[in-house]
């Protein structure tokens, strides 16, 4: 698979179809990868595709396409971000080519908690999870433990925007219902929900890693950074943290495609993807539409239809 990926990237660069292929390369440890902007055939040789490739590279697109057409390596989940960026005119269709890789699931670093990280040599896929090779042998980890939660509930096939398909997506057997984490959350009363978020937001240090990692957060000036009209100070007290996160969640309602990068980037372990998932379900209930599926559609909260639900009573 890596050979096909590198060959394809080289071809795209040599033919001049794109100036840059954004993909993954080996990271500073065998269980990490790093984003790569490959602009020459030599650089394309560094591209990798393995379980460590967790990042959603679509986050780089709005900036990257300013230099010309770009190809981007995407998993089926990441490809949904590309749909949203197209829908919102942050990227022109002619400026992006998606290279869709077949994805069995990507690594949850927690799975390596019992492994001596300094001793890891490689992380590879197996038929039912991953194999971690260390200096002292091999460890097989089943997918329930090895993969991120979003992978366990993944039912995605070929994405809508798939310019180059490097293989068929594996047949998916979701072991977890994607709505399950929200189901547990929905059992909480409103007061319990408030306590749930208050406890988590108390940990927030306002590093904005969640926002910066999110392909949907591309505003040139975030509401949270405005100094002229200060909507929110940078005090990390629970109320101010709450305001930041809930406002960001609302700004992403109907646009968040559930890549989970916010939660992965958060240094404090705040379950941010739950917010996105919950609002995604609310939007689906109300507007019968899901983000990331139709690049031609209008943004759901950025457009109005006569059939939109009206919660206000007739009188």
């Amino acid at each position: 698979m890596e050979k096909e990926l590198r060959d394809k990237a080289r071809e795209l660069l040599e033919s001049g179809q794109v100036g840059t292929v954004i993909g993954y390369e080996a990271g500073s440890a065998p269980f990490k990868c790093a984003p790569l902007y490959a602009r020459t055939p030599e650089e394309a040789e560094r591209l990798v595709w393995n379980p460590t490739c967790v990042n959603n590279l679509a986050v780089y697109l709005p900036q990257a396409v300013k230099q010309g057409p770009v190809a981007v390596v995407v998993k089926p989940c990441d490809a949904k971000s590309v749909v949203e960026l197209l829908k919102e005119n942050q990227v022109e269709r002619d400026d992006v080519k998606t290279i869709v890789v077949p994805c069995p699931g990507v690594l949850n670093l927690d799975a390596l908690a019992d492994v001596d990280l300094s001793d890891v040599r490689s992380v590879e896929w197996t038929d039912d999870g991953i194999k971690v090779t260390t200096g002292s042998g091999e460890v097989s980890i089943p997918k329930e433990k090895a993969f991120l939660p979003k992978c366990l509930s993944c039912a995605l096939g070929d994405p809508e925007i798939a310019d180059i398909k490097l293989g068929e997506q594996p047949v998916r057997t979701p072991v977890v219902d994607s709505k399950m984490s929200v189901e547990e959350y929905e059992k909480l009363s409103p007061l319990e929900r408030r306590e749930f978020w208050a406890k988590h937001f108390a940990k927030c240090i306002r590093c904005y890693a969640c926002r910066q990692a999110c392909p949907g957060c591309y505003c040139k000036e975030c509401f949270a950074d405005k100094l002229g009209q200060m909507w929110v100070t940078r005090s990390t007290d629970p109320t101010t943290n709450w305001f930041f996160h809930m406002t960001r969640a609302m700004h992403l309602a109907g646009r968040c495609i559930g890549c989970g990068e916010c939660e992965r980037a958060c240094p404090m372990g705040i379950p941010l993807s739950l917010l996105g998932k919950k609002l995604e379900m609310e939007v689906e209930d109300m507007f019968e539409t899901r983000p990331g599926e139709d690049a031609e559609a209008l943004p759901v909260l950025g457009s109005w239809k006569a059939e939109d639900p009206d919660p206000c009573p007739e009188e």
């Binding site: 902007y37 240090i205 306002r206 890693a209 950074d225 100094l227 007290d237 992965r264």
Partner: protein
């Protein structure tokens, strides 16, 4: 000062005995994340992961700190400064990197008059009981940038885990006082030898020292690496906010009508508005300038200005970066043979 030992099961009674004089702050794990928090019950302490997620920094330079409250009355204002530390604190389980980092922040915060009184108030009223790292993380490189793991600074007591017990060394008069508690027994010659052998074996697995201060004299302002990093860096504050030597803050106000408070909160040179000036100019307008700034500040400007590196090798920035920007690799690349001028 005489070395002592304490059985692990005596740690909780020892800390409980100190509760009258000290508020104890120690690592506690919640939802899989370990942070230093005030603890009443020593059994909640988790000394496991190295290093703890956010270190001890927030107990000296809090994320948010009220500088003063005010009330306007006509043309004058009644200003109320915050209360100082009321009770001494004892930080238990601090790592050598985090304690060493305080030396740098001390230097910055006392560099010019007036010195940072709230910070030094906290420094003066805090005892630190450190812990030798038995299991450095894959990101640890303190030995590359200093020798404080073997020769700690800014600690009152240094504990080394010997299995059933801790070897305890007092490094200050305050530390001696702490080790005067009945739970401590004199260490034997065998204990001392075991500690030395153990420390040597841990150190042997860690990186060798590198004179980064010297190497930084030839850092290239125009190295192509800054462009590459700028493309990959997301511009979040995770690296700086978890860094024990980072100390920058912004000052803001929270006001309503005639009353308000002025506070400071953590800031980072990685945010785009960090150097945005009132007249609109920003000398670090892109991530090229900002990623370069982080490296130059830690490894070049700090030695030039304060005679010490601004990095203690705790590795948190490496662990937390969502895009695997590894500062060890960055400085290795900019210091490589063919880049250093003759």
């Amino acid at each position: 000062m005489e070395s002592k030992v304490i059985s692990k099961q005596d740690i909780a009674p020892w800390l409980k005995g100190l509760a009258e004089k000290y508020d104890v702050i120690a690592p506690v794990t919640e939802d899989g994340v370990t942070r230093f928090k005030p603890v009443d019950d020593p059994s909640a302490i988790d000394l496991g992961p190295t290093p703890a997620k956010s270190g001890i920094r927030e107990h000296f330079t809090p994320e948010t700190e009220t500088l003063f409250d005010y009330k306007l009355e006509g043309l004058s204002a009644e200003v109320t400064p915050p209360e100082g530390i009321k009770k001494d604190r004892l930080i238990f389980g601090a790592r050598a990197c985090d304690a060493a980092a305080l030396r740098y922040v001390d230097a910055v915060y006392s560099n010019v008059e007036p010195v940072d009184t709230p910070y030094f108030d906290r420094r003066e009223h805090t005892a630190i009981v450190g812990l030798f790292c038995n299991k450095p993380s894959w990101t640890c490189f303190c030995t590359e940038v200093g020798d404080f793991m073997m020769n700690p600074i800014n600690m009152d007591v240094y504990l080394t885990d010997l299995g059933e017990k801790y070897y305890a060394e007092a490094l200050t008069p305050k530390g001696e006082e702490l080790l005067g508690s009945s739970q401590f027994q004199p260490a034997t010659g065998a204990d001392k030898q075991a500690v030395e052998a153990h420390r040597e074996s841990v150190q042997a697995k860690l990186p060798k020292p590198v004179d980064h201060a010297k190497a930084s004299e030839s850092y290239d302002w125009d190295d192509p690496i800054w462009q590459k990093l700028a493309e990959v860096c997301l511009g979040c504050g995770a690296c700086s906010f978890l860094c024990p030597t980072c100390h920058c803050f912004d000052i803001m106000e929270c006001a309503k009508g005639k009353k308000g408070s002025r506070f400071r909160c953590w800031d980072t040179c990685q945010f785009d508005k960090f150097t945005l000036m009132g007249h609109g100019h920003n000398p670090r307008p892109s991530r090229v300038e900002r990623t370069r700034q982080r490296v130059f500040h830690k490894f070049k400007y700090s030695p030039e200005r304060y005679g010490m590196l601004g990095c203690v090798g705790c590795g948190r920035c490496v662990a937390v970066c969502p895009v695997n920007i590894d500062i060890r690799k960055v400085i290795q690349e900019i210091e490589s043979e063919d880049k250093v001028s003759a």
